[in-house]
Symmetry: C2
Subunit: 317 residues, 2 copies
């Protein structure tokens, strides 16, 4: 199979590229390197059946040419920064919503009809039902990021109905693991490297969040694509647990052997639009036969170990 991976030089994308190549597939990675990293594709670059196209999803001709010959699209490219959406609302609109539209139109041009999409648990807003199932009550959006991903989901679904596409839509919790390059573990570790005596924590530390290890995330996506055959297949991806930010801090500090003074910004939410309790119901994909291998704690430790071995990622900013 010839896979086209948008965001192929990113955290999840580059891990997916390696996995697909290891299975003998042909892979084209497409990335604008706004957050993607060339080192993530060092290994892939040595594979004969790999090609990389440097381009932006807003550039339709380049995108369409790059997709020529592909049979399946993994659309992972996105502005994944949920926190700063209000600073530049156009960015979510362009990089998530319009970019997804461009991917779909390129697929139509190239005759590709299968797409997997990295959506987010943020589309549930502040869910009324927790753990939140895929058919939770019609949500109200609380972030520009969630809204832009919801728009992407809707477009993909409409293309399935209107143009006979098949889609696998995955609503992720936060993903952790090798090549992780933004998020709370990254922020906390960076802070502690600069000053091991102090740790600034957004909110009151009681926010409850879910995390999934990237290896489990890839396994879940590939499992669902192989075993779910509807026209529009929607799956939450997460672990059957959540943790408090404070627990995560305990694990991180424990692993590093540090006991910093914790300074809280205060409030139930870390930022405007922050969801104080994210916990997705993953029964649907478990019923399909998939189980996560790593706990949240193991995923956080694995992530820290990766960052300790790859300090260049922290220094790049």
């Amino acid at each position: 199979m010839h896979y086209f991976v948008t965001g192929g030089a990113g955290f999840i994308g580059s891990n997916l590229v390696d996995r697909l190549l290891s299975q003998g597939h042909h892979v084209t990675a497409f990335d604008n390197f706004s957050t993607g990293q060339e080192p993530f594709l060092l290994e892939a670059g040595r594979a004969a059946n790999f090609s990389l196209v440097r381009g932006d999803l807003l550039d339709v001709p380049v995108l369409t040419r790059a997709m020529d010959g592909a049979e399946f699209v993994f659309h992972l490219a996105a502005n994944a920064d949920v926190r700063h959406g209000t600073l530049r609302p156009r960015f979510d609109l362009e990089q998530n919503t319009i970019a997804t539209y461009n991917v779909l139109e390129a697929m139509r041009s190239c005759g590709v009809q299968r797409i997997a999409f990295a959506s987010t648990g943020s589309v549930y807003g502040e869910a009324q039902v927790i753990p939140t199932p895929e058919d939770a009550p019609f949500p109200v959006q609380t972030s520009l990021y969630g809204a832009s991903k919801l728009a992407g989901e809707g477009l993909i679904q409409a293309y399935c109905e209107g143009f006979g596409f098949q889609a696998h839509i995955f609503r992720f919790v936060s993903i952790l693991g090798e090549r992780y390059s933004h998020g709370h573990v990254f922020d906390f570790y960076s802070q502690l490297l600069r000053d091991p005596r102090e740790l600034h924590i957004l909110g009151d530390g009681h926010q409850r969040k879910s995390y999934l290890y990237v290896g489990d995330c890839l396994a879940a996506m590939l499992w669902a694509i192989e075993h779910a055959h509807g026209r529009v297949n929607i799956f939450n991806l997460g672990t059957p647990e959540y943790c408090q930010v404070n627990e995560s801090v305990d694990w991180i500090c424990g692993h590093l052997g540090l006991e910093p003074h914790r300074i809280y910004s205060g409030g139930e939410r870390g930022w405007i639009g922050d969801n104080p309790f994210i916990f997705l119901d993953i029964s649907k994909i478990r019923r399909l036969g998939w189980e996560p291998a790593l706990t949240i704690r193991a995923g956080i430790v694995r992530t820290l170990e990766y960052l300790q071995d790859n300090r260049w990622l922290l220094e790049r900013r």
Copy 2:
């Protein structure tokens, strides 16, 4: 109050403009006249507190200048053609999703924080729960129109959370009445004017649909804006009934005194993405104290009478 009405020269928009002017408000109508009609604003044009700006919502500088001084935005402008979405997917993206984003950004620029939005029951896709309440299970989109309106809803909700806006989002069934200028009554009447002996009907005629009279629609919106004070207020607007396409044909033919031969295109759906059963649960707005005055049948007859008196509307195409 100074109201800014996008799509102010359209079917619902121009009726709203007249209503707001009759209540003594200041009104600015904004329209690109892609489907809006100058005659709809003849009466409004004689009011001192009315102004009309001819412009497109994709033209941000013109939009922002036009909105200066407004206090409340009714965002009604849209590509309202659900049927031909697959012929030009970009149109829904631009005129519904991106246009809504531009309206929100113009509001930020102008310091306007209140918006009412004409959304659609199409956002429920093929609803699993009928009659469909506002908190129905998270829907799957089946049309580009529905997807583009869902994206608009999500953006508006995110602006409420991120920028302190207040929104009233209305999910309409099909609206009928004076200045109605597209839809099945329009199509059937046009056909019967050309040839009273034959009527071509999309689908098998058993599709069940809901309709609301435009006067009731305006009353409901104004009632909800006055009486619902949440940050994001979402209401279905419809009647507590539905009809089959065949019943509607009976009423139309009965009113016109015609008995055409009915020719069905066949199939459960009138077109790709057509929803064979639309019936919204309107308990929420009824609990707020609003009731529709006209039945579907009365609304259809009122629409026909209007079209009979305004044949220019049929000839314009």
